[in-house]
């Protein structure tokens, strides 16, 4: 391996030097352009979001408070006929007392594992994955999850259904505002940021649109005021 790493260093010089003979230095700083700060009309944003994601095969719900969220969740679980769920460590879910509530309704909330193999196992076996989301983009109906300790990746990917509970205040107009919102901490991005705009989709067999090929077949987004 060391031999190959050294090789890499040599290759690097060769490639870069060759390119530099024909390149020009960037004449602008390598920094994203920041969009102007705007006041957001959350209702209008919600409306756009809902339209966009619904058109793309997701389900969008708006609830007033904690009870509304729990009720919506129950209905979804019934609809899915779900027995088991994995939930993230997202603070919104903690505030809702989600784990306790689901337990009382007979849904087995699988234990959050610290071991990657065990974690894979629970994610692959759960019926539903419930997470929060860091932002929601109105024009495309996209939720944005910053993966980290509080929102593991496989929770929103492996189970056949994914429910995201998002504070309405996290709605942004579009992806450009998202970049601006991330701001100077662009340089401290999470290990993975996933933008989700609908259920998993393929048309690879005879151009037939089929949901749930690898990722979840169902996506629900619940906005809480």
């Amino acid at each position: 391996m060391d031999g190959l790493m050294m090789h890499s260093a040599t290759n690097r010089s060769i490639i870069l030097n060759r390119l530099k003979r024909f390149a020009v230095r960037p004449d602008a700083p390598i920094e994203s352009k920041i969009a102007k700060n705007r006041v957001h009309d959350l209702d209008a944003l919600y409306s756009s979001f809902s339209q966009a994601l619904t058109a793309n095969g997701g389900t969008v719900i708006q609830v007033n408070k904690k009870d509304g969220a729990l009720e919506s969740l129950e209905n979804i679980m019934k609809e899915l006929d779900a027995d088991t769920a994995v939930i993230s460590e997202d603070s919104v879910l903690k505030t809702l007392g989600l784990k306790e509530h689901l337990n009382t309704r007979g849904i087995n909330v699988l234990k959050g594992e610290k071991n990657p193999t065990a974690h894979k196992g629970t994610c692959f076996s759960a019926d539903v994955g419930i997470t929060g989301a860091d932002y929601a983009l109105a024009d495309t109906g996209t939720i944005v999850i910053f993966h980290g300790k509080n929102n593991a990746r496989l929770l929103s990917l492996a189970p056949p259904a994914h429910i995201a509970i998002v504070e309405k205040g996290k709605l942004l107009p579009d992806i450009d505002t998202l970049v601006a919102e991330i701001g100077p901490s662009r340089r401290d991005l999470p290990s993975a940021m996933t933008l989700i705009t609908g259920p998993s989709l393929t048309a690879d067999i005879a151009l037939q649109a089929i949901y749930g090929v690898h990722g979840p077949k169902k996506l629900y987004v619940i906005f809480i005021e």
Partner: protein
């Protein structure tokens, strides 16, 4: 498994074969129409689609012009985020590194996302040859892997296979029950591949973009297989061509808008992963290690060539193929290698050598639709003309064949005729006389180079008197 050797010089045979396939032609024609319509609709939805397109072209031009400096910044930031950046000059080096890494990790199972650059270097075949089970996880790529075929189309690798054919394939190779229901087939693939996602030690992908500002790579998909490949295994290897870098995150999001709209008419794909380094402390999934293999494989040679350089601005959206009259009739197989359509006509010769792909840059009408639609700003028609120039000159640096002597003599004579008015007059008069004697309609005596015309067209009746003759006889004009 099939080791994919280029068939780029088999062009005429492949074209004949593919043109004869009526069903395939109908599929290609319909699919191209749909893709173009979806693209137009999604661009029409934008506040100013044309400005957005031009903006994208500028970003790519700027990025390519400053490529090495941006690559350095990318490497710096990716490394700060914990990724290991490896540089590979060619396919051999990239594969050697990846195999050696896999062996060091004791890996015996690898899952792969769709990546054209990995097909370019034959990575999957190398892994399998070295005892590492490797599965394509994009459904279309999975199907063609099982079938041992080349991908049919950039956007839909297996859409030319019927449900029945896929069912027989799954039954034969994987022992699945036969079914006429594509949902059942898809679910069967899902179950099979979930097992691989869970058990694989290595996930390999390409990257749609590498962002210099943040050291991130961006991956775009609809199925979720890339998210799995980059989240479940302990090691993630991303193979990235040197041309993939863009300066900033806002540049990347701009290109994202153009990429998904150009590729499938989507405002955004179902999933976009922005990956910045491996997983951080305290995270329970994501790879422990992220290796980014930056690959040259002939790109720096293209870069050094001013006439060819804009080819590196390509963002691999596949739209050029959808709007190309040639591709729409002959299909992807005819291009004989990884890249097809107009960008294939440019990249295959540049990467394989002009002599190895000599028909690809000749078999085009230079209609320019590709250039009009290209979000990257690749000047395909002019690159094609430049490739023809280099072929005519026998340019060894691009591995062209020896200059075509007979052709050069022919064009030399043609030039000689055009350089003098009297010569032109006499030769063209003789030419017209010969044609008139032979008569209108099929002319079996046309020289080999031109007889193609009369296969499906009548020869135009040459004028008794040329326009020059008529004009010279000024009295004729009074009668008009």
């Amino acid at each position: 498994m099939v080791v994919i050797e280029p068939e780029t010089n088999n062009f005429r045979e492949l074209v004949r074969e593919n043109l004869a396939n009526e069903q395939q032609r109908k599929l290609l024609g319909d699919f191209s129409l749909i893709l173009k319509a979806l693209r137009d609709f999604s661009f029409g939805e934008m506040a100013d689609g044309h400005a957005a397109l031009q903006g994208g072209q500028k970003i790519r031009e700027y990025a390519v012009n400053s490529l090495p400096y941006l690559l350095e910044t990318f490497e710096e930031n990716a490394t700060k985020a914990g990724a290991k950046v490896i540089w590979a000059r060619d396919a051999r080096e990239a594969n050697a590194f990846i195999i050696s890494l896999a062996k060091e990790k004791g890996a015996d199972l690898c899952v792969k996302g769709k990546s054209m650059v990995s097909e370019e270097i034959g990575l999957r075949e190398e892994l399998i040859k070295n005892g590492i089970d490797t599965y394509e996880t994009d459904l279309g790529e999975f199907i063609v892997q099982l079938a041992g075929k080349r991908p049919f189309h950039i956007v839909g690798p297996a859409i030319n296979m019927s449900v029945d054919e896929v069912s027989c394939l799954f039954n034969q190779v994987l022992g699945f029950d036969k079914t006429q229901n594509p949902v059942d087939l898809t679910m069967a693939a899902r179950i099979f591949l979930r097992d691989k996602f869970e058990g694989a030690q290595i996930g390999i992908t390409g990257a749609n973009m590498a962002v210099a500002e943040t050291g991130s790579i961006i991956l775009v998909e609809n199925e979720g297989n890339i998210r799995f490949s980059t989240s479940a295994p302990e090691t993630h290897i991303a193979v990235v061509g040197i041309e993939k870098v863009v300066p900033t995150l806002s540049d990347a999001t701009h290109m994202l808008k153009l990429l998904t709209r150009s590729c499938t008419g989507q405002r955004i794909s179902e999933y976009v992963s922005v990956i910045t380094g491996p997983r951080k402390a305290g995270e329970v999934d994501g790879p422990e290690e992220l290796y980014i293999v930056i690959l040259d494989n002939g790109r720096s040679r293209i870069y050094a060539d001013e006439a060819m350089k804009s080819a590196l601005q390509c963002i691999k959206c596949g739209l050029c193929a959808a709007v190309c009259p040639v591709y729409t009739h002959v299909g992807g197989y005819a291009y004989g290698w990884v890249y097809s359509g107009p960008i294939g006509a440019v990249l295959n010769p540049l990467l394989l050598g002009l002599g190895k792909a000599k028909h690809l840059y000749q078999a085009t009408t230079l209609c320019g639709a590709c250039k009009d639609y290209c979000p990257g700003g690749v000047d395909i028609p002019n690159i094609l003309l430049s490739l023809r120039e280099r072929a005519m000159a026998g340019d060894r640096s691009l591995a062209a064949d020896r200059p075509p002597v007979r052709q050069k003599i022919f064009y030399c004579l043609w030039t000689w005729v055009l350089m003098d008015r009297l010569r032109y007059k006499i030769v063209s008069k003789l030419f017209r006389m010969v044609l008139r004697i032979a008569g209108v309609g099929k002319l079996p005596i046309l020289p080999a180079g031109l007889s193609g015309w009369t296969q499906c067209r009548n020869m135009p009746q040459p004028a008794k008197k040329s326009f020059h003759d008529l004009y010279a006889e000024t009295s004729k004009w009074m009668a008009l």
